[in-house]
């Protein structure tokens, strides 16, 4: 087990290096430079000013030198300063956005599992029933409907027509003067729509996955055995079948780790939520290389760690893998 773990960890480094090399190259391939995005079509800019700005950001050096400099900083965990005019450390910009995105995504993830799990189980147990079909229709509706469209409709209905819910943002104006309880209620009202829409949109994948693994498990011999023992159907499904059906879900959980800090651009834009998705999108639009690289490196790191954790948990949970491989 330990040598396996060490080997896996040793593999991560070249992988991460490769990822950064490719992303660095790709970003620089995109047309337009940070200087360009700030100054295109502005009569104030002469060639001299442009040259001065390029030198200031180090863009006048060859690409491999730029990469080397970036790499030298990143091994010391220095993400550099943003190319935006505010010139702030990239880490500060990321730090102020992570709490919002992380907590929103955690809530949404919990809700997603909380709702998709029963839907998947029900659909599998009552396979091909009207309930199964109804649930399938429901989750696919969420999957197929463009989230931005649904979000706008709901905003209009609940926000403008009924005036029950706020439209966008996280807090009402003056919410800092509210009592803790009222403040929390205000926040919850703001989050209802975004989290609701996000969860609705993501139910399909997970619930269908659970349904199919569940169906597979229900057909197994040991389920027949359990039933033959005279166990209640409830016990058979929830104890014997579900446990086995959940194994692949561990992998899914591992995959969702990087997703926790990567917000959705469309979503955060529509609901004016100051999260990572927006930050990343603006970074890309402004060709803010250090910021984009910073977010990508963190994302890539988390993906790799997530995969590793998923594999480890899997082998812990499933003795067959532990004995067989490794």
């Amino acid at each position: 087990m330990v040598p396996y773990l060490l080997k896996r960890i040793a593999m991560l480094l070249p992988l991460l290096l490769g990822i950064t090399l490719i992303t660095f190259t790709v970003i620089h391939l995109a047309p337009g430079e940070p200087v360009e995005m700030q100054t295109a079509m502005s009569p104030k800019i002469t060639a001299e000013t442009r040259q001065r700005l390029r030198a200031y950001y180090g863009l006048d050096r060859p690409l491999h030198v730029q990469y080397g400099l970036w790499l030298r900083r990143i091994v010391r965990l220095d993400f550099g300063r943003s190319f935006a005019p505010d010139n702030r450390p990239v880490m500060d910009k990321i730090k102020e956005r992570i709490p919002v995105t992380l907590s929103l995504n955690l809530i949404a993830l919990l809700l997603e599992f909380g709702v998709a799990l029963p839907i998947g189980i029900l659909a599998a147990v009552r396979r091909n029933s009207l309930l199964d079909k109804g649930l399938t229709l429901f989750v696919f509706l969420g999957f197929a409907m463009p989230t931005f469209w649904l979000a706008l409709l709901l905003m209009y209905f609940f926000g403008v027509k009924l005036e029950w819910l706020p439209i966008s943002g996280l807090h009402s104006l003056g919410s800092n003067k509210l009592t803790a309880g009222a403040w929390f209620l205000d926040l919850a009202k703001h989050l209802l729509l975004p989290i609701g829409v996000a969860t609705f949109g993501s139910l399909a994948g997970l619930s269908r996955y659970i349904r199919s693994t569940m169906l597979e498990v229900i057909g197994q011999d040991y389920i027949t055995t359990a039933r033959a023992k005279g166990l209640s159907e409830r016990c058979v499904i929830l104890k014997h079948a579900l446990r086995n059906a959940l194994l692949p879900v561990i992998t899914l959980l591992g995959f969702s780790l990087p997703g926790l800090i990567g917000g959705s651009v469309i979503f955060e834009t529509i609901f004016a939520i100051p999260g990572m998705g927006q930050l990343f999108f603006m970074g890309v639009m402004a060709r803010d290389y250090p910021l984009v690289m910073g977010i990508l490196v963190i994302g890539a790191g988390l993906t790799l760690v997530g995969n590793l954790l998923a594999d480890l948990c899997y082998s812990l949970a499933d003795p067959r893998i532990r004995h067989g491989g490794g």
Binding site: Q38, S42, P43, P85, E163
Partner: protein, 541 residues
């Protein structure tokens, strides 16, 4: 309030100019009673977040709009668009036009209590031209030979040549020397916690959510009536519109559809005032004059004859705009009201094209010359529905005179780098923002056709060159007007662009806010006088 005096910018900045409140019949406004009182908050929305509140370093509209509340320049434009003193009490220009002497206001305080003096002006000038400062505004002061401060309330600026746009360039925000001198401006905390001389000071900046400004009691023109300005970051324009309807923001620029169709109900009109006046920008179709297709003036005049500008205004702007005939806003002093340009007349277009050798030969409805069809591609940038619609309507009209125009929409960054910079285009549909000073050197002078320069269509006319140089070389407004009016006649004759339209700015403001006086400078020129009657105040402490 200092207005950043950018002569021409491609983004559609709404420098609010021209005027008129669009009250429909049947909506009655409560009468003004008594003196304006202080209090209440106005909430605005912004699509992008400000990046830095040191305006010298900022290149985005969001930063400049917030900084506009916090800083002042030496001069500013008043509501009639005349240059008047701001931090400068007065100024004089020497007879030869080479020396401008500013006399500063006395007793002006920075928001931290420090006194404002000529040292601040000198510092601002020095840091702007310092090669180590990453700013896009160093050009403003490039023509300056020297700046002297004989005493704390006098600034004397000397130029090599008389340069008319110079005066307006002193409208850029003056920075506090006592907080910045000797420090690296790029690392200054003033970017997040600015100190200015303006009517508002920063209270709170919640990253990604909102910026709150509060009235500066010691403002030299008197404390503004509205206690606070809150600028919320709302990146999506559909969301912003719904926030407006739900009362989450008090002010926003409407689109023509929103203005004409979606805000005509009485419940909206009872809660909001709508304003309408020409925006400081125009949209045009520009031809690459290096291309043999467009080098013939008859062809360019024919294209303009073939385009129905009125139809564009109706179709694209729902009537919320007017035709453009030259690079100036109708009604501004440099604008020429008597331009004769090719009017919509398809028959005249066909005749001119025939003179230029373009004939219909094989019955497919497309004109040909030497066997080659009259075909070109017009480029426009992605994300601008109005320009795309404009292109489509023009396509239809050109087809009817036998010209096959294709449309290609391209993402902004590659539009600039691959097509404009490399002069790799046939025609473009784009827009220019207009500053208050009529100098158009950067877009029309023949020396500005180099790579990345803005005369990208390659226009060259000796008389226009001479007139542009003459116009910026004198402070005499009548003389300047003569130059710019003549330039418009030449451009109307030569049609290097087909000038299409000047859209209207369509802002709306909550009806509880009073004291808004529309003027040629728009509505925000006297923001510090805006107020809300006590019984209508919405946000109280």
């Amino acid at each position: 309030m200092s207005v950043r005096l950018v002569p021409l910018l491609l983004t559609l900045l709404f420098l609010l100019v021209g005027c008129g409140r669009a009250d429909p019949p049947g909506v009655r406004r409560p009468q003004e009673i008594g003196k304006p009182v202080d209090g209440d908050t106005i909430v605005t929305g912004s699509i992008g977040e400000a990046s830095t509140l040191i305006p010298l370093l900022a290149s985005d509209a969001a930063s400049h709009s917030i900084a506009g509340y916090i800083y002042n320049g030496l001069v500013k434009y008043d509501k009639e668009l005349n240059l008047v003193g701001d931090l400068a009490r007065s100024w004089e220009v020497s007879r030869d036009g080479l020396v401008i002497t500013f006399h500063l206001r006395r007793g002006v305080k920075w928001q931290d209590g420090h006194e404002f003096t000529s040292r601040d002006v000198l510092y601002t000038y020095r840091v702007t031209i310092d090669p180590k400062t990453p700013t896009s505004y160093a050009e403003d002061f490039k023509q300056v030979k020297k700046v002297e401060i004989p005493d704390p309330y006098t600034v004397r600026v000397t130029y090599d040549h008389p340069f008319a746009p110079a005066l307006a360039s002193w409208g850029s925000s003056v920075l506090p020397a006592h907080l910045l001198e000797g420090k690296d401006i790029t690392l200054s905390e003033l970017a997040r916690r600015p100190v200015g001389t303006g009517p508002y000071r920063l209270k709170e900046w919640v990253a990604g959510q909102k910026i709150t400004l509060e009235a500066f009691e010691g403002y030299f023109e008197g404390r503004p009536h509205l206690d606070r300005v809150v600028d919320r970051l709302i990146p999506d324009s559909a969301t912003m519109y719904m926030e407006l309807k739900a009362g989450g923001i008090d002010m926003m620029n409407l689109t023509p559809v929103q203005f004409q169709r979606q805000t005509m109900d009485n419940s909206f009109l009872a809660r909001f005032n709508k304003y309408r006046y020409p925006a400081s920008s125009y949209v045009y179709m520009g031809y690459n004059l290096r291309n043999p297709l467009f080098s013939d003036v008859r062809v360019r005049r024919a294209l303009t004859h073939a385009i129905n500008k009125e139809e564009l205004i109706q179709g694209v702007l729902l009537g919320m705009g007017q035709t453009a005939k030259g690079p100036y806003k109708p009604g501004s002093w440099a604008w020429n009201p008597n331009i004769k340009e090719p009017v919509y007349d398809p028959a005249a277009a066909r005749k001119l094209l025939a003179e230029a050798g373009w004939r219909e030969t094989d019955g497919d409805g497309i004109l040909r010359r030497g066997g080659k069809p009259f075909q070109f591609t017009v480029l426009t940038n992605q994300g601008n529905a109005e320009r795309l619609k404009t292109a489509q309507i023009i396509q239809q009209r050109l087809r009817s005179v036998g010209i096959d125009m294709k449309i290609r929409v391209i993402e902004w960054a590659s539009f600039i780098t691959h097509f404009i910079d490399n002069r790799n285009f046939e025609a473009v549909i784009l827009g220019w923002s207009l500053g208050q000073d009529p100098d158009i050197f950067d877009v029309w002078h023949s020396s500005k056709t180099g790579k990345k320069e803005l005369n990208f269509i390659g226009y060259k006319n000796d008389e226009v060159d001479r007139l542009i140089v003459a116009g910026r070389g004198t402070f005499d407004q009548l003389e300047r007007q003569r130059c710019y009016r003549r330039i418009q006649e030449i451009l109307a004759q030569e049609q290097p662009y087909t000038f299409l339209y000047v859209p209207d700015a369509l802002p709306t403001v909550s009806a509880r806010v009073r004291g808004i006086t529309p003027a040629p400078a728009g509505i925000t020129h006297d923001f510090i006088k805006w107020h809300v009657p006590r019984n209508e105040q919405k946000y109280t402490q």
